[in-house]
Chain length 268, copies 2
């Protein structure tokens, strides 16, 4: 399995503190040593750093940890391979363009017998179930809405419907963003925290590092951090119930929809 | 205008030496300070580093210069903005997926009145003429060959035909790769060198750095380096004539086609 880290903010914010704790789980304080990656949106542009090696000993991860890139949406992933060899082409997050915007996707879980028909618009480059699910999801969004991006609520409803279909095949925790919003699915395990004024101190679980957010924020700042497991040990994280899909915008959740399959309907 | 750097090899090779000279042109020994980027293919995977700042003072460029990433195909670019503001979304090289492979593209030049119809398969995220040309080129390749990648010679012939169409609109030096091959168009200015046994010393033009390739190669290694202007001052670079499109594979040019428009044909 893998671990996910996401950030959605109302002002461009750096993720150095959270990434410090997350990076340690890639081979030091935890076992996810088959690769790591992080994607930053900066306006419409994206920067994606990928490495098919443990993050805890990577000079590139060290640079990312120390180099404050200010972003409103970030998605990071550390990998413990389930499907697909260890290799750059199988390293999350994945990126595609749809409707003239980049889309970023990372997955924690394992999908079985998920081999949908792909029409050629989005084809996986690697061999993971994760990239296949991402390609299929984008294909379905394009087929449904054509060449014009839908209203945000319609987009969220469509992602909800597609998540239900994919989640039938297994564990499907994911983070998805187009730079405007961050969508997070808690299939089994995901938690979040919203940091806003009055800002206080936070202390990492995985390293003895404390930060005082009141030193570096303004009263209007709002930052949502989403992670497989809480990153700090002195803050109140909200555990997202298994089977919930969340839409984050401007640093807070704006809508949640359930994705637990209801009782199966018997044919009449 | 901008500058281009490409590398195509028969064994995965690092580009640290060439990038050292190239990086200096991004604001130190030359004026291309509006951003830089470099893409490495590692198997089917790619890593793209982008920054909308001068490369000569960038900690990220410094890491790339020192961090030996072994790749058979590399494309790098330093930008002096002509169309599109300085911003991450307008920073080369650009990436898209076609036929389950990543494609990387960087452009030096300026296209005027190039506003082709795009069918929605590939839409620019930024506002450069370069990304528009890349999206249109991939759209035409997909329309022509459908869901199946063509034989390499057919692909090269199609790229040649499309280059002719785009080059009518202005200066169109470019590098394009899918990880297997590197295509290079000398619209006005491009040069290359093939390094192979017996390897010798090379000395950079832009920094007083010498490398002895015989220390780090085997007799079978072959590396083609393509650049807007030669990077070394003691090697024999081949200037690619204006109006030529080149196909590089396994570290050497395998085919060249002319792209100079012939005399206009009058209707009979």
């Amino acid at each position: 399995m893998c671990q996910l880290l996401g950030m959605n903010c109302n002002v461009p914010t750096d993720i150095c503190f959270s990434f410090t704790g997350f990076q340690a789980r890639g081979g030091a304080t935890d076992v996810h040593s088959d690769g790591w990656g992080i994607a930053f949106f900066e306006g419409r542009g994206t920067r994606v750093f990928l490495e098919p090696k443990p993050s805890c000993t990577s000079p590139l991860a060290e640079l990312v940890r120390q180099y404050p890139i200010h972003s409103k949406n970030v998605i990071a992933h550390i990998r413990k391979a389930t499907q697909g060899v260890v290799g750059l082409e199988n390293t999350h997050p994945f990126m595609r363009e749809l409707w003239g915007r980049y889309w970023i996707f990372a997955h924690n879980g394992n999908l079985l017998d998920f081999t949908p028909e792909l029409d050629g618009c989005f084809i996986p480059v690697g061999v993971t179930d994760s990239e296949r699910a991402f390609c299929w999801l984008l294909q379905k969004l394009r087929r449904r809405f054509g060449g014009t991006p839908p209203a945000p609520a319609d987009l969220f409803a469509a992602i909800h419907e597609l998540t239900l279909e994919i989640a039938r095949h297994g564990e499907f925790n994911f983070l998805l963003s187009n730079g405007d919003w961050l969508f997070a699915h808690a299939s089994t395990k995901l938690a979040y925290i919203v940091r806003q004024a009055p800002f206080t101190q936070a202390h990492l679980k995985d390293q003895d590092v404390t930060v005082d957010f009141s030193d570096m924020t303004t009263a209007a700042d709002r930052v949502a951090v989403i992670a497989t497991l809480p990153l700090t040990d002195n803050e109140a994280w909200t555990v997202m119930p298994a089977g919930t899909l969340w839409w984050f915008a401007e640093g807070e959740p704006v809508q949640m929809l359930e994705t637990r399959p209801g009782p199966e309907k018997k044919p009449a």
